[in-house]
């Protein structure tokens, strides 16, 4: 009766194939593989872009499908980054400390090692004691669990409070902005336990791994591609059946869904939490490639950019979000990285580093006004065999 999920959603298979092909080609051309056509720093950029595509998929689920314009998902992304960053920083510092203490005559005690690690990590904020929240930083497994647990819990509590009070529309968007702002401001404080505005650094170095960055960058590229593929598959599966019907119904007519007997709040909460976890996983893969995370990453504007990517890429079609995130963030790197040639206009020379944001803003307005389906809408123009979509 029902064909398999993949057979009914050919776009998923196409997407996964393209992603695999992309990863393969990039790998072959990389410095790590000896070819050197693509520099290691650009490999990292591509890997990070895949992570941004993953959070864009999450954003499309919550906004494009369920109609909830969350402007706070970068808070979850950042938290995911912090959680993995804690282990990376702790473990690497520990190895260095143990190494240097072992040079001394008397072998160090456990307490001395901990003390030395604390001084190394928290010296910048004038402390040497480990805050409570670092309790599990010595365990990779636990810290990996926290990558989803901490943002997941935050989303659960925030969502429960907001949805239960039936906060919707622009009020909800404002509330999510407030959440991410509050979190950023908290993390900026030196006594937040996460090194204030210094953030966590040196995250590109995997403790105990001697392989060069050329190789490590490839590992992260693969991990990011795998996460994006898995996240995309999950998202496509979630929206493919009745759950998708219900959340699109919530977007288009919340009252109808409610009077059909569905608990709208429970659905919103489940989806909000799920997308927060996806965002967190994306963040946990992103920051080891970026090398550093600090509270500025969680600034409210980051989450707004996310909405802009998804809008430009086209909402409610998953691949649109991926295209939007990849296209706009790579373009943004190009423009703000100073690679884009300046545009002399007689009396005034347009420097893209300054003007890129204006260009982005204008594009956003134009897309919203004239192409509400975004770049992804172009795919609708491809004629399909009638009935093949069903």
């Amino acid at each position: 009766m029902q064909r398999s999920f993949i057979a009914r959603n050919p776009s998923v298979l196409i997407f996964l194939s393209l992603l695999a092909l992309f990863t393969l080609v990039v790998t072959v051309l990389s410095e790590g593989a000896g070819a050197g056509f693509i520099s290691t720093s650009f490999i990292k950029t591509l890997g990070k872009t895949l992570c941004l595509c993953l959070i864009a998929v999450a954003m499309d689920l919550i906004w494009g499908y369920a109609g909830i314009l969350s402007l706070g998902h970068f808070a979850f992304f950042g938290l995911g980054g912090y959680m993995i960053g804690m282990w990376l920083m702790y473990e690497r510092t520990r190895l260095i400390v143990v190494d240097s203490l072992n040079q001394t005559e008397i072998p160090p005690t456990e307490a001395e090692v901990i003390e030395a690690i604390g001084t190394q990590i928290f010296g910048v904020v004038g402390s040497s004691d480990f805050p409570m929240i670092w309790a599990f930083a010595d365990s990779l497994i636990l810290q990996l669990a926290l990558v989803v647990l901490v943002p997941g819990m935050l989303a659960l509590i925030f969502g429960w409070l907001a949805f239960r009070s039936r906060v919707t529309g622009v009020y909800l968007s404002i509330l999510t902005q407030a959440m991410t702002l509050a979190l950023a401001l908290y993390l900026f404080q030196n006594d937040s336990g996460l090194r204030g505005n210094n953030g966590l650094s040196g995250l590109q170095n995997l403790p105990g791994v001697t392989a060069s960055q050329d190789i490590v960058s490839l590992w992260f590229l693969w991990a990011s591609a795998f996460a994006l593929g898995a996240g995309y598959f999950l998202a496509a599966w979630v929206v493919s059946g009745k759950f998708g019907s219900v959340i699109c119904g919530i977007r288009d007519n919340e009252a109808r869904v409610r009077f059909l007997g569905y608990s709208v709040e429970a659905y919103k909460l489940a989806l909000f939490t799920l997308t927060a976890c996806l965002a967190a996983i994306a963040g946990a893969l992103y920051y080891p490639q970026a090398g550093i995370i600090n509270p500025a990453e969680i600034a409210p504007i980051a989450s707004i950019y996310l909405a802009v990517w998804v809008a430009i890429g086209g909402r409610g079609r998953l691949y649109g979000a991926v295209i939007g995130a990849a296209f706009v963030s790579l373009l943004s790197t190009w423009f703000t990285g100073g690679q884009a040639p300046d545009l002399p206009m007689g009396v005034y020379t347009v420097k893209w580093v300054d003007w890129w944001l204006v260009l982005l803003g204008v594009s956003f307005v134009l897309v919203t006004l004239f192409a509400p389906k975004g770049i992804g809408g172009l795919f609708d123009l491809i004629p399909t065999k009638k009935g093949s979509e069903e």
């Binding site: 699109c248 009252a255 709208v264």
Partner: protein, 246 residues
Amino acid sequence: MSMLLEVSGVSVSFDGFKAINNLSFNIGEAELRAIIGPNGAGKTTFMDIVTGKTRPDEGRVIWGEKSVSLLKMSEAQIAQAGVGRKFQKPTVFEDQTVQENLLVSLKNPRSWLSVLTYRPTAEDLGRVDALAEEIGLSDQLTRLAGELSHGQKQWLEIGMLLAQEPRLLLVDEPAAGMTVTERQHTTDILVEAAKTRAVVVVEHDMEFVRRLNCKVTVLHEGSVLAEGSLDHVTANKDVIDVYLGR
């Protein structure tokens, strides 16, 4: 006859304006009832109260043989208990096909976990086909609901309610904006539905109400003005004054 829904002494006011004033209303199993009344009489507000959208200031709303109060339940719980509701303006999921609209409405577990893993069974698809037949949309199953005509949307919404298998169906102005033949069809659907469940129809159009051929309740300024057969209430002097005589 035991009552399915008993509304007694219900009042609700919006900013001091009494939209519903000490209203009492009963309906039994498998009964068809029409509610008429001038604009602003409180017909929609009455449905809001029964379905949990609006909380009354006072009064009781008692449901079923176990006599549970609907006032403590959420909209979704009331719907699950067996109250279906059609809105005044058609509300269907325009971005989804007729089939999807009906599938999502079928009486099946409503929790998000069970919905996540749900895949339509042959039986469910058969149910959908039967419903589409009933509302005259059999050849529209794969069309987007947004592409349907106004009348077809109204039927689809009624079909979605029937899919829910409610014990009480509240229908707000189903014939508004319909052509004469469409109205005829709507009457047939409702009369048929009322054979197995209670149906309350709010309607302005007297011809439509006459064809329903059922007991009529006249609302005025938030309370019941008259109740009985259509001929009985239209002969009532108060009714003529406030409603028919205008």
